[in-house]
């Protein structure tokens, strides 16, 4: 599919939900170009020179923050990391005051990770800077879905018609929401599998199939996405034990045989080996988990570039 568009409509990337298929395709196409930059010996382009990007991470994150930071540096942006711990936030400052104070330093973009849904939208409505949602509670994590889509498209050559099974803690996952928006918009076929205790209300209305059996979900799948199970949920009311979870929903090489030949196994990380996925699968021939990480940088470069491009073109 050729892009119909050469820029994003919004100054912000708050989620996949507001994007149309052309914008998604534009980001993925742009990321292809940037992937090549990471393979050069001099891994830097001057696209964001003189631009200040603040990484505002109000919740613990390693992979996403590092990935954004690398993307920013490869685009030659000036970057600043701001974490909640040891900051004014711990002294009781509100999100809005934190953001206003940062804004007084004239950043061009703010990449925000926050534990509450809607926090990026609050900033976007308040501040002239471009806001990039790096995960807001259980709401959305758009760059993760974009890098997942990039990885699928790179391997399978398309998104349309691809059968994707997403398995795990659907209820609390921002990754799954962004992925559902993206994959359904690009005409992939999505099946969700989890025990009912980890399935959010009325999720089938998002245009997906819902099953409560791992085998049913795996059958004929082109792509299997495993979601992280938060260990602190075991033994409470979501599921009885990690042992039982692994036995019913854990991905093993035997069960993976139900999927299509050449199936892609994905995981947004961090993984719990032996809980949602066995090491044999995670490290096995079908795993593209580390490709996802590599592609994350290219996709985030594309997002930052396109958001800045809109603004730079106007200037």
């Amino acid at each position: 599919m050729r892009p119909q568009t050469s820029s994003l409509r919004s100054k912000d990337l708050l989620g996949i939900e507001p994007l149309d298929p052309e914008e998604i395709t534009l980001i993925l196409d742009t990321a292809e170009g940037f992937k090549e930059v990471s393979e050069r010996s001099i891994k830097k382009v001057p696209a964001l020179r003189g631009q200040l990007v603040i990484n505002l991470f109000m919740e613990a994150s390693t992979r996403t923050r590092v990935s954004f930071e690398i993307a920013e540096k490869r685009l030659s942006a000036d970057t600043l990391n701001f974490a909640a711990s040891g900051s004014s936030v711990e002294k009781g400052e509100t999100l809005i005051d934190t953001a206003r104070n940062l804004m007084a330093m004239h950043p061009d973009m703010i990449v925000i990770r926050h534990r509450h849904p809607g926090a990026p939208k609050m900033l976007a409505e308040l501040l002239p800077a471009s806001i990039v949602n790096a995960g807001d509670g259980s709401h959305e994590h758009p760059t993760q879905a974009l890098l997942d889509a990039f990885t699928i498209r790179e391997r399978l050559g398309r998104l349309s018609g691809v059968r994707v099974a997403i398995i795990g803690d659907i209820a609390h996952s921002r990754v799954v929401r962004s992925n559902i928006h993206l994959l359904t918009r690009m005409k992939a076929k999505v099946t969700l599998a989890a025990p009912p205790t980890l399935m959010p209300a009325a999720v089938e209305r998002m245009g997906v199939r819902v099953v409560h059996s791992l085998d049913q979900a795996l059958e004929g799948a082109d792509v299997v996405m495993m979601l992280r199970i938060q260990l602190e949920r075991q033994g409470k009311l979501s599921f009885p034990s990690l042992r039982e979870y692994f036995n019913t929903f854990g991905l093993t090489p035997e069960r993976l045989r139900l999927a299509k030949e050449g199936v892609l196994v994905m995981h947004p990380g961090p993984m719990n080996r032996g809980v949602e996925i066995s090491s044999d699968v995670a490290d096995g021939p079908y795993s593209v988990i580390l490709d996802q990480v590599t592609n994350g940088v290219a996709v985030r470069m594309a997002v930052l570039y396109l958001l800045a491009g809109g603004r730079l073109a106007e200037a």
Partner: protein, 453 residues
């Protein structure tokens, strides 16, 4: 202090009156109604041509926040908001700081209302000491001090035995128990209705079952005890069904609905506007439809605001972190009139007046709610054709309204408490000619000055 309201359409559902009449209030009480009553010396006259003259609205569910949270609202500011909304009496919920769980607090509220109140204030006493849900408050003492009902509103009474005992005891005192129906285990730490929208937003949901299961439990306890159970702010199909069942069984169970549950659904929460966060939460369309049907078929007895002021600083945070509650006194009539009478034609204006005045008075056994001779001279003059556009500031000390910036058909032209005009809108009842020169004034300035006197 005599007042003659002329040429209005008097609607008094309690007496079954709906006709063009004049109304005379003498010494604070309704003296007579009839055609072409004569004015005279010492009688203030209001021309209500084109207006509806109704018994003053009565709110069974108001959080006045005083004592303890005067940065949100005071008895003075809350009652000024009330009269701007056509209310001549409000029932003050017990979850103040300290809570109204003992006589001294009840007396303080009544004394402050007498000093600074723009309308009548009827305190609601706590069910349990400290609203802790463990031991009964001194209900008899509270009752004799002036409490008209008992409620731990804001905190559900989780302990079924405590609820049983409270009902038994309140029955002896002839006062209703007002129940906030919510199973705290089921609602967990939810911040909105559990459904498709909460799934989309990734927000923790409170299932309808959390309200429905507690409503069913309390109806069963009402059957056991014979008490008068009043279910506050019902928002779910199942809870309304429980009320229907109770009625069929002849139980003394009444219930109320709020203007925001009548007008809005959880779909609006997609904006993350914290002024759409309240408890019970805005429900899905299916539940709202059930609420409108229950208003149409008489299952809902009363419309009550659940006026819950919060300071802008408290609301100007992430949705998850914002306190529950919205203000509602000033918006209640225009919103309900617009939605129920004009847009959906669920009910007619006389029935709306019944839901907001006659029935509340009857439900809690309060004076007013009628314009019968000898009843309090409490009147709301309503302008059904007028439009109310809400700004972002209110007479309430808070501004956490989901209806800010919106316009509704229906307007409060004047509010009279005990024969005294406590609120008069701009572009007055008298007609356009007089209104023209005042048009530049901010709405309601007149009423406010009057109240400050």
């Amino acid at each position: 202090m005599n007042l003659l309201i002329r040429n209005g359409r008097v609607i008094d559902p309690g007496q079954g009156i709906d006709e063009a009449l004049d109304l005379l209030i003498e010494d604070g009480v309704v003296a007579k109604s009839g055609r072409e009553l004569k004015g005279g010396k010492g009688i203030e006259t209001i021309d209500a041509r084109g207006m509806v003259v109704a018994p003053g609205l009565i709110d069974l569910h108001t959080h006045l926040r005083e004592p303890g949270q005067e940065h949100k609202e005071t008895i003075g500011s809350g009652t000024r908001a009330a009269v701007a909304g056509g209310f001549t009496a409000v029932c003050a919920m017990a979850n103040t700081i300290p809570p109204n769980d003992e006589r001294a607090v009840t007396e303080m509220i009544l004394a402050e209302a007498a000093r600074n109140g723009a309308c009548r204030v009827y305190p609601v006493g706590a069910v349990s000491k400290g609203l802790a849900g463990e031991a009964l408050a001194e209900l008899a003492d509270l009752r004799s001090a002036g409490c008209v009902a008992f409620s731990d509103d804001g905190r559900p009474v989780s302990n079924a035995l405590l609820m049983r005992r409270a009902m038994e005891y309140a029955r002896m005192l002839g006062a209703p128990i007002v129940a906030h129906e919510q199973d705290l285990d089921l609602s967990d730490d939810g911040v909105m209705h559990e459904g498709f929208v909460s799934t989309l937003l990734g927000m923790k949901g409170m299932p309808a079952a959390a309200e429905e299961s507690m409503a069913v439990r309390d109806v069963v306890l009402a059957a056991l005890t014979g008490a008068h159970l009043h279910l506050a702010h019902l928002s779910t199909r199942g809870a309304l069904e429980a009320v229907r069942r109770a009625r069929r069984e002849g139980l003394r169970v009444t219930c109320e609905a709020t203007p925001h549950h009548i007008a809005l659904t959880d779909d609006t929460v997609r904006s993350y506007d914290t002024n759409l966060k309240m408890n019970p939460p805005l429900r899905s369309d299916e539940h709202r439809e059930a609420l409108l049907a229950a208003i149409a078929d008489g299952t809902v007895d009363v419309i009550a605001t659940d006026h819950a002021p919060h300071h802008p600083d408290e609301k100007n945070v992430e949705f998850d972190l914002a306190p529950f509650g919205v203000i509602g006194l000033e918006t209640a009539f225009p919103v309900c009139h617009d939605v129920l009478v004009v847009r959906t034609r669920t009910i007619g204006l006389p029935r709306l007046i019944e839901l907001m005045s006659t029935a509340p008075a009857k439900t809690f056994g309060l004076p007013g709610g009628t314009l019968k001779r000898g009843s309090p001279g409490d009147v709301a003059i309503l302008d059904p054709k007028g439009e109310t556009r809400f700004g972002t500031s209110f007479r309430s000390r808070s501004r956490n309204s989901p209806f800010a910036g919106e316009a509704f058909r229906g307007r409060i032209a004047a509010t009279i408490v005990g024969g005294v005009v406590r609120w008069r809108a701009e572009a007055p009842e008298g007609g356009r000619a007089e209104g023209a020169k005042k048009r530049s004034r901010p709405a309601g300035r007149n009423g406010e000055k009057r109240n400050r006197r």
